[in-house]
Structure formats: C-alpha cells, structure tokens
C-alpha cells in the first residue's frame, strides 16, 4: 500500500523557499527582544541595573516581572514556573528580564550589558543531593505485581546493581524562536512550538486577555524532538509581554549557546535494581528504585517518569515486579520531553540487566532475551495485556544475521589485541498513546474548492516527521484527489483548537484518523452528487463510484472531481467538514494502583549493531546495523524509513558521542564545538533497515503504527555493542557508563584491568 510520495514541501525546502519563523519578511516596526539569563544556579535577585544598556543606540525598552499584566506563570502541569522570577532564580540560564531593541544584534548587546546582583544560595544539583534534602516532585510512582520477595527466594541467582543514563540536548537546528504581532484586538503568535494550544493558554493568562484573542499559527518547525513541547511557552510569553509593552511586532530568537544553556533536555535517570533469575536465564523477579533529575520546575517530569516506568521491563515478561520511581527537584534547567519521553531510560535499565544476567550465567545475551520475551496474551506489570507479540518472529528473522556477524566479531577479536569488535541486539516494545488519556484526541478540517483543490487543517505540527505528507495521503486516498492538489495549512488555533501537543508518536494516528473521518463524509456527499451527474450526463445509475486521480469513474465513464464539487456547491451540499477523533479503549495509568491500559497498541522491533573499538584511544566506529521494524502497515515507506534511521542515529548519539558537560551546575558544552551530535561520517557502512509489515489489527489509521519515537531505542544496541567489544567475552563487567565517550570507554577498560589483577 505504501506509495512513493515525496515530502509535501520538499521543493520549497530544497530551493530555500520554505519559511521558518525568522525567514518570514519582517513586519514594519518589527523589533527584537532578548532575555537576560541568570548566571547563578540559585539566588535571590537583589538588583537589576539596566543603565548601561539604556545608553546603547537602538535600545527601546526593558521588561521585568513587573511588566507582566496577568499571571506570572508558564507552568502547565503545575503552576509556579514563572516567566521571570520575582524573588529567586532557580537555575543557571533562567531568564530574569529582557531588553527590547531595534535590531537583533543591538538587543543581544543590550541584554549583555544588564547587570544583575544576586544573593547566592547553595544549589541542589544532583539526584543524591535531592534525595538527601527530600527535594522531590509529586507524585511518586509505584508498580507492584506478584510477590518479589517470593520471587527472589525462588531464584537461583540474585544480582544487584546501579545504573544511570545521560542527559541529552535536543539540538534542533532551528533554535527557540517566536514572533508576536499585535492585532487590532489581541495578538497573533508565531512560535516554533509543538503545542499551539498550550501557547495560546499561557499567553492569554500572562497578558490577562481572553483566549479567543490569542491566535497561534505554526507552519513548521526546524526540528522539535520534544524540545519544542514545553520549552517554547516561556519564550513565547517573553515575546508577548514585550509586544504588549511596546505595542509593536516583536521577535525573539535564541543564540545557540543560550538555547543549550537555558532550555530543558532529556532527563538524567538513575536506578538501583535487584533481579532474580534461574540458571536457564528465566527472570523470576525484578525490583527497581528509579530517580530522575527533573531540574528546577516540574515541566513534564512526571509524565516522563511515567513512561520510563511503563517501559522499564521493555520486551520481557516478569512475573514478580516491583518499582518505585521519583522525580527530583534540583537547580538545573528544567528537564523536559525528548523523543522516547522516559521510555529510552527505562529500556536502557532493563537491557543493562539482561546483559548482566548473561554475564553472570556466561550465556549469549541473545539467549537470555529469547527466554524472557513477551508472548501474545502476556500482561505487563501494570496489567495491560499484550494482545499480540511479534517479538518471537522478529528474533527468528534477525537471528541468522546476528549469528553471522557474531562469528565475524569473534574471529576478529581472536586476531587482535588492541582493537576489539562487539555486537549487541536490542528488542523493543513501545507503547503508543499519550499516557494522559485526555490528550489522545485529533482534529481535522477539510475544505473542498470548485477547482478541485483541497485545504486541510489538522492538529499536528509539522516538524520534519511529515505528518503533513501523510495526512495529505490519507485525504487523497479517501477522496480520490491527488496529493498535488491538497494543501496542508499551518496549524492555526482559529481553525483547529484545543489541540494536544504533537508528541508521543501520535500525530498521524490522531489527526490522520480525524482527517479520514472528515474525508469519508465529504466523499459520501460527492458520491451522491456524482451519481446525479452520471445519471443526467450518461444516463447510468451507479451503484459504486470509483474516485481516484481527481476523477470519478463509473461503468467506464468519467467525470472530473472538480466538476462534482462545483455541482455540489450549486446543490447546496456542505463542501467542508470538521471532524474529531479520540483513541478508544485506553485508560489513564492509575498512579496509586500502578495499573492501567494506557496504550492503544504496541510497536515491536529489533536491532543488531556491530562496532569496532580501539582499546588504546577509547574511540569506536559503528560498522554494521540491521533493524527490523514491525508496523501494521506503511502508507509512505520513505517517511517511515527516514524516521527509523533518524531516530536510531539520534539514539546512538545519546549513549555515545553526546556528552552534556556541567561544571557545578553550569552547562559548559553549550555549542556544536563542544556538544557533538552525529555527523554523516558516524553512520554505519552497512545500514540495513527492513520494515516488517505485520498487518496487525491492533494499529491505527490504515493499519499504520506510530513511528516517531520507538526506533530511538534501537540506538541502545550501539552502546551495548561497545560494552561487548571492551569486555570481549570476559566474565567481568566493565561497568561502562554512558555516554561511551573515549574517556568513559578507557575508564571501563581500566576497571576491567583492575578486576583482572585482583
């Protein structure tokens, strides 16, 4: 069913004509606002001195918390995250106030000259410090299935350990940007955001104006990855307060260094675990104590923690399971959504435990995995039934490659002392749906025009995942109008309102389904009119009308669809349709009971990676990758493949190259010269990706499944392959900690050496 349909805006992008916010022609009188960021991690604000910046030619005005006409809050899950703090700054990089100037350069220069005095306080920076001070966000999450005590007693082996995952910077190519334009009544907001309705609500409250006077309009983002889910609210609010004050259009755009310093990233997680299993590798019991560093404000830390918890058993059935998870409040920038949303952290813990079991039993980790994989009908620790598991079939498919590559690895390692190859396999079972049930809703408005063209508005934000292309395809297939005649509109809160963020891999499921509903209704109307025309024109009574490639067909006769639309309008048929979709079956995850049916379905897949590691320099090279990714169906193979390869490389980056370095709470790897995301040279020479079309009925629109986040987890196989290479069949654990930078790899090699000497 997958068609070869190019990116709907491919030509615009390839010719440089596509417009991101700062590419839009400047409005007359457009001015620029730039925040002044806190340079302490925690402290009382004693004095803000604008005098030097006020002297700069081009300075227009300044804004502080006193200029906020409404509520000083951008927190959504919980109030208390201010636009500008009134008394105390809570993290290094927090915007404290801002300056407005005639151009971007001057605004930055003025911001730099603002002097702020603080009475510094001792910050809480780490998870350990937070635990000591009892500094937590609520609620704590718990899962308790079976009886772990009994499970441990019955286990032949019990292991314990500590694990941690690193922070990751989104590094979307387009930094946080927003333009606000005052209208005769209200404001037009153009943010680079995944959450238009959230922005609308925040700005209405911050400016103290009704929500119907705030229009948010978003055409596209230059990358999001979760970094534009909650982060943009604060910057949109600053821009809006500036525009409110000077009554002119205002733009804000962060420089890269400030963006990395000030905005939220992927949470650092730590876990303590205890796992019981038998000598055949069958896991009997698993107990976790999980903590995340949530930063200064709660942001999305609780739902992120929840998804971690709901993926902390990954693809394995564990009879007795107990878990306690807590998000810590510290004085780092808030941590936020990032592709996978806690899932990758949970999966990393489980996969690390599997590797450790294999090491303990001296078995191939592949065997441990196979022994414990979910089967159809199994229930997760939180009680949701896995209606069908494709894990067994995926393992069968990938096993020959794994065996062949493993042999190559072993042969190489026999011959080499200073360089070692390594291999690892990572399966995935990723739940699709927002774990907050209320957010699982989609919208679409379709308008047909008499020249046969279509306008589609829907609730998904285009950020490169090509929700636009795919929604256009769904509409095209349903109405029979070709994609070239379909225009996907910007997301505009005046056309589509009360939208959940574009997140959780759900954009096509939710909005594609809504678009399908709208399109189906329009098609019925068109058919009714087409029947009339066939009768009048050709005197045939059509039972069934085929509609494709802009033409209606019946018994060998053809009528262009545009003619039908024209006639329908004349016949007073409604040629526009607004529809709504809500995901069925799901429930919220009950935080108290630790139970729920939060996911509509699961996505399955498996990845094998092979690396070569230099034991002297600690460098590695990713050599080969094979991924088999299960989908119910694919409507655009290229888009799906692009999501898989992009997510895999991003996942690899998270656990290997990308090293977010802080010095006493101050982010110091804040530019691409120090924070290294993968380049084209880091991708494997053998990069084999296969779509396994399962035809699963537990799927969404046209049998497709959410594709944005699940493949991120495949990247973990690279980390485990590096660990495998270093350990080269030894029984001892190198304790390699991610990210696998040369420094951490050498550290792990030394750990092994020490253990060997003992």
């Amino acid at each position: 069913m997958a068609d070869k349909i190019p990116h709907i805006d491919g030509i615009l992008h390839a010719t440089g004509k596509s417009q991101f916010i700062s590419d839009m022609p400047p409005e007359k009188d457009l001015v620029y606002v730039y925040p002044v960021f806190s340079n302490v991690s925690r402290g009382e604000i004693v004095e803000i001195d604008f005098s030097e910046s006020e002297e700069i030619d081009g300075f227009i005005d300044k804004i502080t918390c006193k200029d906020i006409p409404g509520e000083n809050n951008v927190g959504v899950v919980e109030k208390g995250e201010p636009v500008f703090p009134e008394e105390e700054v809570e993290f290094f990089g927090q915007p404290v106030c801002a300056v407005i100037a005639k151009d971007y350069f001057t605004a930055r220069k003025c911001a730099k000259l603002v002097k702020i005095k603080y009475r510094e306080k001792k910050p809480t920076l780490t998870i350990e410090e937070a635990i000591e001070k009892n500094s937590f966000f609520k609620p704590q999450l718990n899962i308790n299935r079976g009886n772990v005590k009994k499970g441990f007693k019955e286990s032949q082996f019990v292991i314990e350990g500590k694990l941690e995952t690193p922070i990751q910077e989104h590094f979307y190519l387009e930094t946080q940007t927003c333009r606000v334009i005052p209208l005769e009544k209200g404001f037009l907001i153009k943010p680079s955001s995944q959450s238009p309705s959230e922005i609308q609500e925040i700005i209405a409250s911050v400016l103290n104006i009704p929500q119907n006077l705030v229009t948010v309009d978003i055409k596209r983002l230059g990358g999001g990855f979760g970094g534009k889910e909650h982060n943009p609210g604060l910057y949109a609010a600053i821009t809006a307060v500036a525009s409110f004050k000077v009554k002119r259009p205002v733009e804000l755009r962060l420089m890269r260094d400030d963006d990395i310093t000030a905005t939220g990233k992927r949470h650092k997680f730590k876990a303590k675990y205890r796992c019981g299993f038998n000598k055949d590798g069958k896991i009997k019991a698993l107990e976790y104590e999980i903590y995340s560093n949530g930063g200064a404000y709660v942001d999305l830390s609780i739902p992120v923690l929840e998804r971690c918890v709901l993926h902390s058993e990954n693809a394995y059935f564990i009879e007795n399971f107990k878990l306690k998870a807590t998000a810590c409040k510290t004085n780092l920038h808030p941590f936020t959504a990032f592709r996978g949303f806690g899932g990758p952290q949970g999966v990393f813990f489980m996969e690390s435990i599997i590797e450790k079991i294999a090491k303990t039993l001296n078995l191939d980790p592949m065997e441990i995995r196979k022994k414990n994989l979910y089967k159809s009908g199994d229930r997760t620790p939180y009680g949701q039934k896995i209606k069908e598991s494709y894990l067994q079939v995926l393992f069968e498919k990938i096993e020959p490659t794994y065996k062949e590559w493993k042999k190559e690895v072993e042969e190489f390692n026999q011959k080499n002392k200073f360089e070692k190859m390594g291999i690892a396999i990572t399966p995935i079972k990723f739940g699709i749906s927002f774990t907050i049930r209320a957010l699982n809703r989609g919208y679409a408005l379709i308008i047909l025009y008499p020249d046969g063209t279509v306008s589609v508005s829907h609730g998904g934000i285009e950020m490169g995942q090509e929700v636009s292309t795919r929604v256009a395809q769904i509409v095209s297939k349903t109405i029979g109008i070709s994609v070239k005649n379909i225009h996907i509109e910007s997301a505009n809160t005046k056309r589509i309102a009360n939208i959940p963020p574009t997140a959780a891999s759900t954009a096509v499921d939710l909005n594609g389904n809504a678009a399908f509903k709208s399109a189906k209704i329009l098609r019925r109307r068109l058919e009714r009119v087409a029947k009339k025309i066939f009768k009048e024109k050709f005197n045939i009574s059509c039972e069934e009308i085929k509609m494709e490639n802009d033409i209606c067909k019946c018994e060998g006769k053809e009528i262009p669809i545009k003619e039908v639309i024209e006639r329908a309008i004349w016949d007073r048929e409604k040629m526009a349709e607004y529809q709504f979709y809500k995901t069925p079956e799901i429930t919220d995850f009950n935080e108290e009971k630790g139970k729920g049916h939060p996911f509509y379905y699961y996505v399955f897949g498996v990845a094998v990676s092979v690396v070569k590691t230099d034991l002297l320099t600690g460098e590695f090279k990713l050599l080969k990758t094979k991924i088999i990714h299960e989908m119910g169906n694919s409507i655009n193979r290229d888009v799906d493949m692009g999501q898989i390869t992009g997510a895999y490389i991003q996942g690899m980056g998270w656990l290997t190259l990308e090293d977010m370095v802080y010095k006493e709470g101050v982010p110091i790897s804040i530019s691409p010269s120090t924070y290294k995301i993968p380049t084209i040279s880091d991708i494997p020479e053998v990069f084999d990706v296969e779509l396994f079309i399962s035809g699963s009925k537990y799927s969404s629109i046209f049998g497709t499944k959410g594709i944005g986040e699940p493949p991120f987890l495949y990247g973990e196989s690279v980390f485990f392959a590096i660990k495998n290479a270093i350990e080269d069949g030894e029984k001892k654990d190198s304790l390699l900690t991610p990210p696998a930078t040369p420094e951490n790899i050498l550290k792990a090699i030394n750990t092994l050496k020490l253990k060997r000497e003992k």
Binding site: L616, V639, L657, S669, T679
Partner: protein, 483 residues
C-alpha cells in the same frame, strides 16, 4: 589605496553594490538574510560548526591561477571579504526555473525532513561537484561532515548524494559568466589596499585588506587592530559579543603570503595558505590535513592562523612540530627565523613581537615514517582531547631519530624531547616502547576541561605512543596486533 565607499560583489550572477555607510551586517550570513532577504541560507549556530549557513564563494586564486570555488560557512565569513567575489546561494542554483539535479535528488530520495539543514547540505554538495564532478563516497562524506542534520540519520542524504551523476551536474550559466569579471576585479585591485570605514555600531570600526606586506606593515602599527585571514576563529568570538576591535586587518589577499613551493622533500609555503590548499598540494599528508575542521573551515582556515591562534591543541601546529618546521616572522623593519618548537612560550603566549606576523612556514619531509593521531569525542569536525604526531627514522630495528609532539597536554603544542632522547639509538622493541610511553606520560601537564579530564589525557599520552608504534611497526607487539 582604495577607500571603499561601496561593497561590490556578485550574488547568484548579478552584481550587487552596497553603500558601506548603510551596511548593518558584519558577516555574510547577516547581510544575505537581513539586508538582502535571501533566507534560504539558515542560521544554526553562529560558529561555523553546523553548516546550515553554507554558501559557495567564487574567487580568483593566485595559487591556481583561475577562479576557484570555496564552500564556506557564511555565519563566520567576514562580510567585507566578499568584495570582488561571487557568492552563490541556494537561490542561485536553479536555472530557467528548473531544479538543480542535486535539489531533485534530495527530493527523490526523501533526504529532507524538517528542511532546516537542507539548503546548506545542497550547497556543500554543489561546492563539491564544482571542484570534482565525480566524487567518491568518501569524498562525499568528507564534504558533508560539516553539515549537521538532526532528523534523517543521514542515510537518505548519502543516498541522494551518491545518486547525483557527474554528467547530470549542471553549472548554472551565470557562474561561468561572472568568472571573467572576477578576474578583472582582481587585476584592477592588485597591489591596492582596500579599506572599509564602518558604522559605529560595528564591533570593529574599520576593515582593511592590504595586498602586499609593505602595505600591511603600514597599517599594522596602530591601536587595537587584529589580524585575520579566514577569520573563522575570531568571528566566533565576535558573533558571541565577546570581542571588539578598532579594526580588523585581513591578510588573505597579501600576495607574499599566498604561495607553495615544493622542491623534492623541501616544502615552503606562505602563512596564508589554507588547509584545503595544503591537502591538495601535499597529497601525502592529505589524511592528516583532512581531519582538521570541516571542509568549510579548511577552505578558509590557514596554517598561519592555526599557529598564531596559539591553541594548545592546534592540529596543524602539532603536525608541524614533529616536522621540525621553521617559521619566518616579519615586521616592518625586517624578518627573522624561529623554529616552531621555540615559538611557543606559554598558554597563548609566543615569540611574536608587536607588529610582527608569521609570513612563511617551511620544513623538510623527514626520513622515516610518520604517524598522526587525534582522539576526540567525534571522528569528524571535533577538537581533540589529545592529538599527537610521531616521526621516526629506523633501520634494521635501530632507532636513528625520533620526534614526538603532543597537543592538549601542555599549555601549548609540545615536543617531548626527553622521550626523544630516550629512544634515540635504542632498539625497536616492545619494552622500549612501553618505557617511552611511561616517560612521555610523566612529562606532560594537562588540565581538565570540557573535552576530558587530566587523568584521561595523561592516559591518552601513554596510549598514543603505543598506538603510533602499533600503526607503524605492528610486528613488535607480537602476533595478535592488527588486522
């Protein structure tokens, strides 16, 4: 002298004349985006590291004696450098409304997701194909290593690039048409110093571009003036508002600094030679020069700049140290010669007097074998944690001579002479190498920073020594030693 009242260059085949007084931008990117409203070129990082702002510059090269094309990052390209040159942007590669084959290939291969990096990627390839109509896969990845994409995982980008047939590659007709005019301008301005007096909002008030050393020394004597060539380091600081000057003196046009002489093993080149030119002319060291910066940076960055920047980790300097390179330093009243290893005196401190510049670098390719290593978090376009270069002359298992240089482990690029003395005359055998590694590790004094801890760096010194010998003489480490 040419007191320039207007900035004149060619943009996508058309002549542009801008009144210097009215210009508000100091980088090419800002001018293109903010003043000429060509927004296909994107701003990603403002430090030349993401490639979203990539454009191609056509300029006359006295080295190649023709108009050459350089792929550069416009966010750190000093605006006034474009005077007399041709700037080609994403808006200038379509012809008669037809997509360029590179653009078409990106669309066909679905090599586009969010689209923000796309114009830069395409321009990097456009620049590559202008130079080399049938690049290999490796040349393609090298050319694109300076362009970051966070969406695609690069697989489709690579496929799109590999699918561009050299025969399909079209050079837009305006490109050739402008070449003659560029050459004319070059001749017209030959021997003349160009001077731009700038608006007071600029972080520098003057931009001066002399054509001869004599004219340079006339300008150099005053105030807070900074000398740049490619400007690829300084403009990062200027963009970040951390630097201001009375003026900048651009030495990239100075004829005396733009030459390469190769006479057998004897290499002499002007300090204005770029890394790209070096790797083209000195093919045997291509693999070393190629790990410096990105393609875009190698097109503007010079060896002179790499040395005079004084970074303790400068890739070029570490290499040259092991070559026993000699610098010629010049100022108004004469020149002197200083060996590179005596040039450095402390962190960012060196033997360069007021008003003096590095004019020439020379070395003789030594007898024996050369090994160069760079360890960094990422293979491409990264600054090393530690880099090192080893030159060794050995015969029949006896070491006649050895030179060992390291970067990132001392306040400046550093020759470990104690290690060299130890090894000279010794037998080429495993235990001596381990001994040497230990000795070198003790000689260095690294610090901890964002690129690695002190302990890690010390360990790398030890391991680099082993690795160099493993690269050059695998047999001394026994059987299980190499593939």
């Amino acid at each position: 002298m040419l007191e320039k009242e207007s900035l004149n260059f060619f943009l996508n085949g058309r002549e542009v004349n801008l009144d210097v007084e009215k210009i508000k931008s100091f980088t090419l990117l800002d001018l293109l985006r903010n003043e000429l409203h060509l927004t296909g070129v994107k701003r990603g990082c403002s430090e030349g590291d993401c490639g979203a702002c990539t454009v191609v510059i056509g300029e006359y090269s006295p080295i190649y004696e023709k108009v050459i094309y350089k792929t550069i990052t416009s966010c750190i390209y000093p605006l006034f450098k474009v005077d007399g040159k041709h700037v080609i942007t994403i808006e200038g590669i379509e012809e008669n409304g037809n997509l360029h084959p590179i653009q078409k290939s990106f669309i066909d291969h679905h090599a586009i997701q969010c689209g923000f990096c796309t114009p830069g990627m395409i321009m990097s390839l456009f620049g590559l194909f202008l130079e080399n109509p049938s690049p290999s896969e490796k040349e393609i990845t090298k050319a694109l290593s300076g362009n970051l994409c966070r969406c695609t995982g690069y697989k489709t980008i690579k496929e799109a690039a590999l699918d561009i047939n050299g025969e399909d590659f079209q050079i837009p007709s305006h490109v050739k048409k402008v070449e003659e005019k560029i050459y004319e301008r070059y001749n017209l301005e030959k021997g003349k110093t160009k001077k731009f007096r700038l608006n007071k909002i600029f972080p520098f008030r003057e931009y001066i571009s002399p054509h001869s050393l004599k004219d340079l020394f006339r300008e150099i004597s005053k105030g807070n003036y900074k000398i740049i060539n490619g400007g690829s380091d300084l403009f990062v600081g200027i963009n970040k508002l951390s630097l201001e000057f009375d003026g900048l003196i651009d030495i990239s046009r100075i004829e005396e600094l733009n030459f390469i002489h190769i006479d057998g093993k004897r290499i002499e080149f002007g300090a204005g030679i770029t890394f790209h030119e070096l790797l083209e002319k000195l093919k045997e060291f291509k693999h070393i020069f190629e790990i410096i910066g990105s393609n875009q940076i190698r097109k503007v960055g010079t060896m002179g700049g790499n040395i005079a920047n004084g970074s303790p980790i400068a890739d070029g300097a570490v290499f040259l140290l092991s070559m026993d390179a000699i610098l010629t330093l010049e100022k108004k009243d004469g020149k002197r010669v200083v060996p590179l290893k005596e040039f450095y005196q402390g962190y960012k401190k060196f033997d360069l007097k007021e008003g003096e510049i590095i004019s020439k670098i020379e070395f003789t390719i030594p007898e024996g074998k050369i090994s160069y290593l760079k360890t960094s978090k990422r293979k491409e376009v990264d600054i090393a944690s530690v880099n090192s270069s080893l030159v060794i002359d050995e015969s029949n298992g006896k070491i006649r001579d050895v030179k060992i240089s390291f970067g990132g482990v001392y306040p400046y690029p550093f020759r470990i002479e104690k290690g060299e003395r130890f090894l000279k005359g010794k037998n080429l055998e495993e235990k001596n190498i381990y001994e040497l590694a230990k000795l070198c590790k003790e000689e260095v004094a690294p610090i901890s920073d964002v690129r690695g801890s002190k302990t890690f760096r010390k360990e790398l010194v030890y391991n680099h020594i082993l690795k160099h010998f493993l690269n050059l003489f695998p047999h001394i480490f026994g059987e299980r030693n190499g593939g």
